[in-house]
């Protein structure tokens, strides 16, 4: 699971940098699923050292898939309609994933899902007044995302409302 930490701001991610003893940049830390440090590669190393570390941790933790894609780009690569879940800032990704996994039904696989945190910039980009919400796109001829519709829900709302909104968008897109 490749995660990018931009530490240009010297205070950014200070807890994690301390936890993983990051002393210089660039630094790649490999962890187990619970976040325990397994290996690190600091600075520019030869290909062998990096690929050896990557290969060994990937073999040890082959994982299981969820319905999330990392970005809209990787979601679009599946050639399905793309659903961007815009989470409320501060929301717990694990709780959200568990709730959606339980409630979305076959919408999990019909659509290619990705996630964004609902910062002001993201809300503006996605045209949402508030989060949480889902924005659904179709793919254009050149794989560009074409807006099909938006669904917003209030925290605590029954997720059936979200499902209904998604179904309405998909019906009207036919």
């Amino acid at each position: 699971m490749p995660v990018y930490f931009d530490c240009t701001d010297k205070e950014a991610f200070s807890d994690l940098r301390k936890k993983y003893a990051v002393g210089g940049f660039p630094c790649v830390v490999f962890t187990d699923p619970e976040g325990k440090k397994l290996k690190e590669v600091v600075g520019a190393k030869d290909v062998g050292e990096f690929t050896s570390a990557l290969d060994s941790v990937a073999k040890k933790y082959p994982g299981r898939p969820t319905f999330w894609h990392n970005t809209t780009k990787s979601a679009a690569a599946t050639k399905k309609k793309v659903a961007v879940y815009v989470a409320k800032e501060g929301a717990d990704p694990i709780k959200i994933t568990m709730a959606l996994n339980k409630n979305l039904g076959d919408r999990k696989t019909k659509l290619a899902w990705t996630w964004e945190r609902g910062t002001a910039k993201v809300l503006e980009t996605r045209g949402l007044e508030s989060a949480p919400g889902v924005v659904i796109y179709d793919l254009g001829e050149k794989d560009e995302l074409k807006l099909l519709g938006r669904v917003t829900i209030k925290e605590g709302d029954d997720l059936k409302l979200l499902n209904q909104g998604i179904d309405d968008i998909l019906k009207s897109a036919k």
Binding site: M1, D6, V28, P93
Partner: protein
């Protein structure tokens, strides 16, 4: 710093195709297109760490700074 960052990026894109796929698409088969050999990093770090935990995968944490 800038030079070493570029060198490390070169290490990433020089990895074997299989490794590139496993890094860019840890949750399944490679999609048909779209990555140009680049790693599909998750920039929402909290979500990335939670996703690794949920998917029982190791995480590759790339710490960098543009100093």
């Amino acid at each position: 710093m800038r030079t070493s960052l570029l060198l490390l990026a070169a290490v990433f894109v020089s990895a074997s195709p299989a490794l590139k796929v496993s890094a860019a698409h840890p949750s399944g088969p490679a999609p048909r297109e779209g990555h140009d050999g680049k790693i599909d990093y998750i920039h929402d770090t909290e979500f990335g760490l939670a996703k690794a935990k949920l998917e029982l995968r190791s995480a590759m944490l790339f710490f960098t700074a543009d100093w």
